[in-house]
Symmetry: C2
Subunit: 432 residues, 2 copies
């Protein structure tokens, strides 16, 4: 290890040791007041009044920490702790918006954790070579305006923004006009160009699944993000009277759909070693009458895996099942969304693992686990732009997108400790 890297890791340890758990808990609780619900959840859809008020709070906090504050065309917010050089900065953060009924942590934890890291650096009197930027991405959830992760996606490929601006919410408000209104609320902020150079992006997030909790491990090194393919399957038979039509005369679309679906579930079970995940979430059974044989059934398939080859083999199986199904009707399917798996680079994984190991060891907790993310995150898009990585902390019972979303304070503390180590090391001389 060269002297620069040794110094970087020394500073990383000092930053990690200056994280303040109580201040972190206060900040999480305060941010949760914006859109806070009586049931403990948070309703803060993107660019809503609650979101804009939360942004104002974050801007004030960052200003108090001495940050330079900027925004961009997609209303992403950047809080900069300047470095000694103008080398490309290290970016951390997450998103500020929630599902219609979400929790206190999904997204918010990564943003607040980034500000806590800046406070710790201030306390420790650490100067970094590179600037450290904390970002709050716009519209990660995609529930008010689809698709999700607009802010990070448009940052990486600015040409996407034009189409996003046309997206409308249930009140027929366009994303573009909501963006313009948000910008008008923060007229004094400088505009940063989209797609600016970054040295690395590190996102801290709750797992939103049960893997870490089940393993009793407080920190997860996220190796990548599962790929996904969404299919729509249409079984077209013939609606007929439930009483008068003999079983062997039927073209019952539900019988075909159920048989197919069971075959697909059986295939997924046979692939359990490759961790193929299969969800048949949306069903439309027509005409939907108790005493009429279903004439048409349309259902969706969400297939996910960290290995794209497994998804391709699933698609081959789906094609085979569809073609070989023998009945009086016919079956079609189409893929209507597809995203290949994301793999984070080894250098980032190793650094995150090192930071998690130190934080866990000092807390006398289990060593970190490597796992993939089942959910999409802004880091998925950033990975197309710069070396990126993610740190996970456990979600109690794996629950997320729910008021009951929770993580133990001691785990939240370790997560920010790991983030502080990783980001400080990257900003002070660790090479990639």
């Amino acid at each position: 290890m060269n002297q620069q890297a040794e110094l970087a890791l020394d500073l990383a340890q000092r930053a990690q040791d200056h994280i303040d758990s109580e201040r972190l808990q206060d900040a999480i609780a305060t941010l949760a007041c914006f859109g806070g619900r009586k049931d403990g959840g948070v309703s803060r859809e993107t660019l809503s009044d609650a979101d804009l008020a939360a942004r104002r709070y974050l801007v004030d906090q960052a200003r108090a920490l001495g940050c330079l504050i900027e925004t961009d065309e997609c209303a992403n917010l950047y809080f900069r702790r300047p470095g000694l050089t103008d080398l490309p900065p290290v970016l951390t953060g997450s998103h500020n918006d929630t599902q219609p009924v979400g929790g206190k942590l999904d997204g918010a934890y990564g943003v607040v954790g980034g500000l806590e890291l800046i406070a710790a650096l201030n306390d420790a009197g650490i100067q970094t070579q590179r600037s450290i930027d904390v970002v709050a991405w716009t519209n990660e959830e995609g529930c008010r305006f689809g698709p999700g992760a607009m802010g990070s996606s448009a940052f990486v490929v600015p040409a996407r923004l034009a189409a996003y601006r046309e997206s409308v919410d249930s009140q027929q408000i366009t994303f573009g006009s909501a963006l313009d209104a948000a910008h008008a609320q923060f007229p004094d902020l400088g505009r940063r160009p989209m797609s600016s150079a970054l040295f690395a992006y590190i996102e801290l997030h709750i797992e939103q699944g049960p893997v870490l909790e089940r393993a009793e491990v407080p920190l997860g090194v996220v190796t990548g993000i599962q790929g996904v393919r969404w299919y729509r399957v249409t079984c077209s038979g013939m609606a007929a009277h439930a009483g008068t039509t003999p079983m062997d005369e039927r073209a019952d679309a539900m019988v075909a759909a159920l048989g197919m679906a069971n075959q697909l579930y059986a295939y997924a079970a046979s692939q359990s070693v490759s961790a193929l995940r299969l969800t048949l979430g949306q069903w439309r059974v027509s005409p939907g009458s108790v005493n009429t044989i279903p004439g048409e059934v349309v259902f969706t398939i969400d297939a996910r895996c960290i290995d794209d080859a497994v998804l391709q083999r699933f698609e081959d199986e789906l094609r085979d099942v569809t073609r070989s199904w023998t009945w009086r009707g016919h079956i079609d399917f189409e893929c209507f969304f597809q995203r290949s798996p994301t793999a984070f680079p080894d250098a980032i994984l190793d650094l995150i693992e090192q930071s998690c190991q130190r934080a866990s060891r000092l807390a006398q907790r289990a060593a970190p686990l490597r796992l993939s993310s089942g959910a999409f995150h802004d880091a998925m898009y950033l990975a197309d732009h710069c070396p990126s990585g993610m740190i996970f902390v456990p979600s109690e019972k794996g629950i997320s997108h729910n008021a009951a979303e929770a993580t133990a304070p001691r785990d939240l503390f370790l997560g920010v400790q790991a983030l502080a180590y990783t980001v400080t090391a990257l900003a002070t001389g660790v090479s990639l």
Copy 2:
């Protein structure tokens, strides 16, 4: 055979031979004009303006045939061709209403066929011992006001009418007020008491299924009406993120519902010799999102069979499957409608078979087939009141409740011939 019965069969043959196919076709076409649609279908929901206009047409036709016309508390219409005695009459007919989009034949055929029978008796100059009444039952379809078969059901058990009068349509009009308005349109008609004595009830109807067409047989002797049980099955699991939740951590309600449903279909297939019919027609999958594991699935089961013991064994199987299903959620079911099978008496079946055999033989067509009815009919309720029976003619491709509903004119002709024989025999001295 005694002399009376011999005479009765002689008159029955004469009545059968006086049926006029052209007059029948004209009457079917004319009645279909009331609520007639450009696509060839008929929209004549019960007690609608179209239905009331059709009733006026039928009253005029019956009056021209010399009939005595009466109604009752449920606006059922009766057209009487008086007999020589005041013995309980023989009743035939069906219903005058259609589905929102129905065909020309469902119900209408039985009413028009009854009037054609009276015209034939007039032409043949036949006097019957018993009066012959043709009925047009109110609201058999049950689509505007639920349940169906109100007219026949209330005729048999008049106490049911009070509850029926409270039934409302989509415009919040009660069945009671629609009845009152209908009565006001026919102020000169006498009121017949409900539940009056009948010697027999014979209903002529299209099959609404594919059995006769498949067998290339023009006439069916209906042995009875299938029993039905309707169940609602609720699978309660846990909604969760499709991406983050490992397969072995899920309580996927759709996996449970599909697995159960496939087991029930397999059971039905194993019971094919008993002709158990199974339809899973209504599905509600919550929350119904592509990327969320279904937390709750509710589906309905329509189970039908001519043998109540088979239905009971199915219910036992359903209970077993429900109880023995092993997963992280739970499954409940309830029976929300039940009607035992109806068996028509042998004496009626034999007489109908005789009438069908003669009509088929003279037309050089295949001998009649005995079959059960999968659909409900007014005869199902009448069977609780007097010896009842039904005659079926084929439905092209088994299609009904559809503008495409059709039956070959030569089959419609044979059906009314069989009806004429049966009813005349019953009205002139055949004993039961």
